[in-house]
Symmetry: C2
Subunit: 430 residues, 2 copies
């Protein structure tokens, strides 16, 4: 897919993005000078302002919801879009939680004194200007602004058009709170306009330091292929659970069911269950019955289909496509594999590099799985649902990277920083 | 600049790159299983093979040199292209040096035990398949292959067409050595063909994990704008030396001259000298005389020009372009600034984000400079020439990143890896 030539963009969009980025850059130069206390005070002031302006936010959100319903938006999406008073309180609290997290900026990553007396240290510093492109859920607007501020970055936010009024209200409140703290409002920018405005952002290389897309596969693919600004790809999770011959079957049952059904709509939910052939008679009917009982539509290969058939469990025949499908729903592909090699080959062929799990009590099998599977997270005897910034103890999450550059897996505050080498000498020359 | 549509590429080039990438991927799956000892043995075997095949390599190189000379190649480039027996011995030794470095793969970056008993650890793992696109110097072919192998990556090498015969000979020798060690020859791939072959590599997203361009600004710009594969931008260095009012003038003189003249053709050489106005009468004529005496063409602003004029030092008037020019030669832009703020503003406007230096004995000035300058390396009282993997004690260098994502500054073995989260549990579910 070809990136659009900048020349085909409306000059007005380019100018608007340039202006937004220049103001964000100016703001970022102020942010780099702030102490942790300054930033935490501002985050709490933003939270207080959201609490105080709850009515205005809820009213703006009602406009979006009404427009969505009038346009035939599915109820699931309407629910994600909706901000009632409780949800506004929750997003405000999220800012207070971010204030309580340690400041990544200034952390010394490594350092040494060289033979010639030069003292070198690699220090975490803000990225500068970070663009976030995301879809309907308006809580991302507040999270991204908060994580950006805490990590010393100015952000340019581009939410879904369905949440336009809500995002405008949230950003207005947060910008005003920053100004009242004596900080630059332009630390939080909102990009409005059509698709060309997004394209202008994606090609603002040098003006924007990083773009993080959050949303469905289509959004992410567009950003990744069209952007000349560095991107961190997030999210698509075609996660597998492999139940090994040496599995503890109680653990396997609990993990398979939890990984699929605990929250099917998210990227760390499992989409495929692979079962070792030696477990086809005893374990397989049991796990299929449990999944089916939980409402999961089972897409089975021949062997799993036979086991389901024999046990009278509803199932459909898996197509080749099923093995690559991120259902994000109560559906699961189920296959029987003759051995660990076949399981590894299947995962290799179909993994999206997010999270892969093995259930086994065999140390050698676990070791091979964790070594050979190429993914952001590899689990042994644990549900795929644990790949999450909150679960990992990061206290926040800006997304889950499925790429290998810069960050891989759950991203929190340190992943929003870069580093700088500071070299102090006494007149050294080469 | 628009990326070319894949559809406009010759299908033969796409097929060739796909095949090369698939074989590299297959090889990378073997590399991930190797112990450090296996890899070091292979590196030493490659070095021995290069020593043994010196004659063949030198003969192949002679073809390239002859073709280059016949085509009117400048002597400087001919020198960079030439591999005599001593230089072959040096590149072989570089592989032995890499064997002596610690293995980055397997390093535990961080980890913890969660409240629920899950043991999580973030471990360095190879990227997978790394593409290197570079220009004339054939030693990069051997360095990149060696650093790739040590970090567990398969590499796809694309050298300059001027070094075609040399690169083919070097790669043939190294691949054969790998095979003799029982390792996959496809760990080292060579991409031949025209510009379309390079374009096919740049758009092989998913098949290639990372591309590192090394070379001039034109090459890097092409790779950065055309690639859909993640790229680490390297190299362009418009480095400044700012001599503050509170500078020790002996140090300032030594640093300015060293930064400009020690090796003018490299990216960490200084291109602009900024001098505080209070030093215009005493220090400025002295440093200009020294630089001029070392053969440096001085491009001066009005104030520096006056000082040069008064002291009878040859100089030319700086144009706006000079402040953005990476001369890579014995030329330097020289300006006088009224204060630290003006120096910071100048650096901000013209820095390429590589290395910036201040010379000062004033702690507050040093602190402001290191905090406010946004660059991969910021030096206090040291020559810009120290931004280098060897100088920093990394033992090797694959390039100097001037971007903020993944790696910033000198890149060595750890920067050629990514990480994987390994999560070990005992049946945990959410």
């Amino acid at each position: 897919m070809a990136a659009p030539s900048v020349a085909t963009l409306d000059p007005a969009d380019i100018a608007r993005v340039s202006d937004l980025a220049a103001r964000a850059r100016e703001a970022s130069r102020r942010l780099v000078l702030l102490s942790r206390a300054d930033k935490d005070d501002a985050l709490r002031a933003m939270a207080d302002a959201l609490d105080a302006e709850t009515d205005a936010v809820v009213a703006a959100n009602a406009e979006d919801v009404e427009r969505g319903r009038a346009g035939g938006m599915a109820e699931g999406l309407v629910d994600r879009l909706t901000l009632d008073r409780d949800r506004v309180a929750a997003v405000a609290d999220a800012l207070r939680d971010i204030a309580a997290l340690p400041d990544p900026v200034g952390e010394v990553v490594r350092g040494s004194t060289l033979a010639n007396g030069l003292q070198i240290r690699q220090v975490r510093v803000p990225m500068g200007v970070v663009g976030m492109i995301y879809e309907a859920r308006p809580n991302v607007t507040v999270d991204a602004a908060g994580l950006g501020l805490k990590s010393g970055n100015a952000v340019i936010l581009r939410g879904g058009s369905a949440a336009e009024s809500t995002n405008r209200a949230l950003v207005t409140v947060m910008r005003r709170a920053l100004e009242e703290q004596g900080l630059p409002a332009d630390a939080i920018g909102l990009l409005e306009g059509g698709r060309d405005a997004v394209r202008a952002l994606l090609t603002a290389r040098g003006q924007v330091d990083l773009i993080i897309p959050r949303g469905g596969a289509g959004l992410i693919q567009t950003v990744v292929t069209e952007s000349t600004v560095p991107v961190i790809e997030t999210g698509v999770g075609n996660c597998h659970v492999y139940v090994d011959a040496a599995a503890d079957l109680d653990k396997a049952l609990a993990i398979a069911v939890n990984a699929k059904t605990h929250r099917p709509s998210v990227c760390n939910a499992a989409e495929t269950l692979l079962v070792h052939a030696s477990l086809a008679d005893e374990f397989l009917p049991k796990v299929l019955a449990e999944l089916s009982g939980a409402g999961v539509v089972l897409h089975t290969d021949a062997a799993a289909g036979s086991a389901a058939e024999a046990a009278g469990i509803p199932h459909v025949e898996a197509t080749e496509e099923d093995w690559d499908t991120e259902y994000l729903a109560l559906e699961m592909a189920v296959g029987v594999v003759p051995d660990l090699d076949a399981a590894l080959a299947h995962v290799r062929a179909h993994s999206s590099g997010h999270t892969e799990a093995i259930v086994t009590e065999d140390r050698a099998a676990a070791r091979r799985f964790t070594t050979e599977v190429d993914a952001a997270a590899v689990m042994v005897n644990a549900s795929t649902r644990f790949t999450d910034g909150g679960e990992f103890g990061f206290g926040a999450e800006i997304g889950i990277s499925t790429q290998k550059l810069h960050a891989r897996g759950p991203m929190a505050l340190p992943e929003l920083t870069t580093t700088k080498w500071i070299v102090e000498g006494d007149g050294q020359v080469r």
